[in-house]
């Protein structure tokens, strides 16, 4: 829980991560629903684009800084910035201030934004005090802890707590749930063979639980894992956790044919 | 410039300064003279002997309680018989004059390649980890600890301390600096180098037995 009391109807800027915006709009709607159900006022600023993580992780610090400035400007007037991705939100929370080490004014703004930026599920539980959701999902799921959310933002118990309240849903934990799936941004295309091996290790652990559904909180990992599952012809369905929690997992899962 | 000077000035340059001034140096020297005490592992056991024994035995070492130093030969003889070891041993003279049964060959010198049994006096036992501390010296040859296949260590009960740090206090009180060699030994020699599976007796003793005296 945060120390400062939460306003009755906080204004939340929803960060539509580049992958979500393009590849999986339903995660955005699921996020908005969960936030509104929790009593937030949700806006999606049109001036937002990318958080700058690709540049930051690939060496282009200047590019990352330019995009960070743009995001700060687009979101700093909100009470909170929330996004359905541990990795993008970790960039904002942990890396933004460091990008402006030599620019006092921007550093201050970056720090202020970082302090009110949250990954979706940790925001719902830790800030808004949500303990359960009103949703139904009939299936057995296993949950993959995406690395940035887990290790940079401490997202671990929150998704499990909320999933526990979904009617009809059973959680089966896999071995090594906290081990990287091999996505790693550009890693997965630069070192595809290693990435494939890591995906297969992850998917083997997931399969051993007998779960019919794999969930996670970062779309990058999910596209990578769903893509590998589809290639191997596996029937296991892949959704973003928010889709299940919002009751929006009734459409085709990632990579699944239109039903 | 010597490699020494090159290295030291490279360090100073990288740290953006010249040699430390007198005040800074004496502050660092004071830190060595009176070492700061750091967090330790909690060892709240009332019975340090029990803790020592339990920890030491957790790593495949064995222990035995005896009454006095005079009992050492009897225990060693029994051990030798149990494992079929010939009645011959290197024994540190720090253990003093012990009366060995008829037929035993005792040598106080360095352990040669053929030696199968060593008997040494521990300087301290550490309850925290169940380790013994050996110091080298003319009466405590270091080869006794590593060459024989079976190592018997004699540990007076009053020398069992709680933490590593208690050894440092005692060592500083002893006042001769560090001995040439000093060994914490925590059990038989082991290796996990073949498929990460532990095997005992890699190079050092395969068997380690501590006789706790008192």
């Amino acid at each position: 829980m945060t120390d400062t009391p939460v306003k009755p109807r906080p204004r939340v800027g929803l960060f539509a991560t580049c992958l979500m915006n393009a590849m999986r709009p339903s995660i955005g709607f699921a996020s908005a629903k969960l936030l509104e159900d929790a009593g937030c006022h949700v806006s999606v600023p049109a001036a937002q684009t990318c958080c700058g993580q690709p540049g930051l992780n690939s060496g282009d610090e200047d590019g990352a800084r330019a995009l960070a400035k743009q995001l700060i400007e687009a979101f700093e007037d909100f009470d909170y910035v929330v996004g359905p991705s541990g990795s993008c939100m970790a960039t904002i929370r942990h890396d933004y201030p460091g990008l402006f080490a030599d620019m006092a004014d921007w550093r201050k703004r970056a720090e202020a934004l970082a302090a009110k930026s949250y990954e979706l599920l940790s925001f719902l539980t830790d800030v808004m005090g949500v303990t359960e959701v009103d949703a139904e999902y009939h299936g057995t799921i296993t949950y993959h802890d995406s690395c940035s959310g887990l290790r940079s933002l401490g997202v671990k118990g929150q998704p499990r707590q909320l999933l526990g309240s979904v009617k009809g849903l059973t959680i089966k934990e896999m071995e090594d749930t906290d081990v990287c799936c091999g996505f790693g941004g550009t890693f997965c295309v630069k070192y595809p063979e290693i990435s494939e091996k890591m995906a297969d290790d992850k998917l083997r652990n997931a399969a051993e639980t007998g779960a019919d559904t794999l969930l996670g909180g970062d779309l990058g990992c999910l596209l990578h894992l769903a893509g590998r599952l589809r290639r191997k012809g596996s029937p296991v369905r892949v959704y973003h956790t928010a889709e299940v929690l919002a009751g929006l997992a009734d459409g085709p899962s990632l990579g699944e044919e239109n039903r | 410039m010597s490699s020494r000077d090159t290295t030291l000035s490279a360090i100073r340059k990288a740290l953006g300064r010249g040699p430390l001034d007198e005040a800074a140096r004496s502050k660092l020297d004071a830190r060595i003279a009176t070492p700061p005490q750091h967090i330790r592992a909690t060892v709240d056991d009332a019975d340090l002997v029990a803790r020592f024994t339990q920890r030491f035995e957790s790593r495949a070492g064995t222990t035995e309680r005896i009454h006095s130093l005079a009992d050492v030969p009897t225990s060693v003889t029994a051990l030798a018989e149990r494992y079929g070891i010939a009645p011959s041993a290197v024994v540190g003279s720090a253990l003093g004059e012990l009366t060995w049964p008829e037929g035993w060959q005792i040598d106080h010198g360095a352990a040669g390649i053929e030696v199968m049994l060593g008997v040494s006096l521990a300087w301290r036992g550490i309850a925290e980890t169940g380790s013994i501390l050996m110091l080298s010296g003319p009466e405590r040859p270091i080869t006794h600890n590593f060459v024989p296949e079976t190592h018997v260590v004699v540990l007076p009960v009053e020398h069992i301390v709680r933490h590593y740090e208690d050894c440092w206090v005692a060592l500083r009180e002893r006042g001769q600096g560090a001995p040439r060699a000093m060994n914490f030994i925590s059990g038989p020699s082991r290796t996990g180098d073949v498929e990460q599976t532990i095997e005992l007796g890699a190079h050092g003793p395969r068997r380690m037995h501590v006789l706790i005296v008192g």
Partner: protein
């Protein structure tokens, strides 16, 4: 030691198809990861000890010149000799000199990664010495004529059957397959070597300024036999390994074994302070310490100073899923895994090491277990920044980043481009929900399909529903 980091990509792919290696690597989890977690769990003070250890190292690094001088003075007072070596060549020259003066023929060695860094074995062998690695893992890979693939378990990539073959060929004895028998056979063979070597070379995990002691931590006892039975003992260590006092050392003793192997303590923690003393009946007659800089002083005061806290426990590689997939040899030099991917470019230079910091998903598991809290992912990313500034990032990637930045800095263009992109991808997928191949595929569809987008972006759908809020 050969420098093969430039071949990272091909060696990594090769490793993925090496069935023996994959079998060996699969043991790592039970052997190291689970045990470390249990050891950390069992010790309530563990996290605080990590903080303290990092603080002590930081204190030392900021005063490294002084502590080295203190250490040197204490070694000298105990009758030993301290030699500084600016680089690997300097170190080889010093050690060859000592061996020559000692009239050595046979040299035993305890495990020392610094000596690998020096390329010491090759130099000694070229000068006609017989060099015998005595750590069982090092001995195995010496027989196989391979470099170590892990800093604390050098032969982790070898299966028991491979060890059996190597021993049968080298020892001219019937092939053993029982693990205990293999260990016993090596014990027998190496015992003879300890007693006949003139020089014993070990590493130094810690150098204690207070007493002038070098400290090694081992399980086998090979280091002890190596340094006790030879006439001359040479310690090889990095300049950053000095710590002020025995009390500071205690902190590291509590975290090293737990982090490395999950043990509460290893079997042997051995302190050496100078040569044999008056009246001693054993121990070396000469004691030398060779302190290697080799790029370390340059890391001081830089954004990479934190790396010098490293105590070489191997926890980062044990927990690295990339290391766990490809093993240590793919990294191509002494230090593999996360710590190696930072150290190798810093020591060997940026040329030929491009892949090391890039072949990392920045998942942060290494940082979460590092006993001295080195922010390894941050340092790896920092090296990527240096590569970018030095124009070493591949052209295609640099162009892609440039284009991405150009578009992402213009929200209207960005959203327009995304709208076009998702429509194209959706129509290509044609209701199948996935794409098996992509035009201009950067490497995605070799092993996986691309789950297809639905054809509209979130922002356009949102704006259609809710307006421009």
């Amino acid at each position: 030691m050969e420098f093969r980091s430039p071949e990272f990509k091909t060696r990594a792919v090769h490793a993925l198809h090496d069935a023996n290696l994959q079998k060996a690597l699969s043991n790592t989890k039970a052997g190291f990861v689970v045990k470390r977690a249990q050891a950390a769990e069992a010790m309530p003070e563990f996290e605080a000890l990590r903080d303290t250890a990092a603080e002590i190292k930081n204190h030392v690094l900021n005063n490294l010149d002084h502590y080295l001088e203190k250490y040197e003075a204490a070694v000298t007072a105990a009758g030993g000799h301290v030699h500084y070596a600016t680089d690997a060549e300097d170190a080889r020259r010093i050690i060859l000199g000592i061996c020559k003066k000692a009239g050595a023929r046979r040299i035993t060695k305890g495990k020392s990664m610094v000596s690998e860094e020096m390329g010491l074995n090759e130099a000694l062998i070229a000068d006609g010495y017989e060099v015998v690695e005595t750590d069982l893992g090092e001995y195995i890979i010496q027989l196989a004529d391979e470099p170590p693939s892990h800093i604390i378990a050098p032969a982790i990539h070898k299966t028991k059957d491979q060890v059996a073959d190597l021993f049968a060929a080298a020892h001219h004895k019937p092939r053993k397959t029982d693990r205990a028998e293999l260990v016993a056979e090596a014990r027998e063979v190496l015992r003879e070597k300890y007693f006949t070597a003139e020089v014993g070379i070990t590493g130094g995990n810690f150098l204690v300024a207070e007493t002038g002691s070098s400290v090694i931590v081992t399980n086998e006892g090979n280091g002890d036999l190596t340094q006790t039975l030879a006439k001359v003992h040479i310690v090889t260590s990095g300049i950053e390994r000095v710590i002020p006092t025995l009390d500071d050392l205690s902190v590291f003793l509590r975290i090293l074994a737990r982090s490395a192997t999950g043990q509460e303590t290893e079997s042997y923690t051995t302190f050496s302070t100078g040569p044999r003393r008056e009246g001693d009946v054993d121990g070396p007659e000469e004691y030398h310490v060779v302190l290697l800089d080799n790029g370390r002083s340059k890391m001081l005061g830089s954004r990479f100073q934190d790396m010098l806290r490293c105590i070489r426990c191997g926890a980062c590689m044990n927990h690295c899923p990339v290391y766990g997939s490809i093993g240590g040899h793919a990294y191509g030099w002494v230090y593999p895994g996360p710590m190696g991917s930072v150290l190798t470019p810093l020591i060997k230079g940026m040329d030929g090491t491009y892949d090391l910091p890039n072949a990392c998903t920045l998942n942060g598991r290494c940082k979460s277990v590092c006993p001295v809290r080195i922010p390894l992912p941050d340092l790896l990313r920092e090296i990527r920044h240096n590569q970018f500034r030095k124009d070493m990032t591949p052209k295609r990637q640099k162009q892609a980043l440039k284009l991405w930045r150009y578009v992402a800095e213009r929200p209207k263009l960005y959203h327009f481009a995304e709208r076009i992109g998702v429509r194209i991808l959706a129509s290509m997928a044609g209701g199948k929900g996935k794409l098996r191949s992509l035009p201009f595929d950067p490497g995605w569809t070799g092993a996986r399909d691309l789950p297809a987008p639905t054809g509209r972006t979130f922002l356009e759908l949102w704006q259609a529903k809710r307006g421009d809020q």
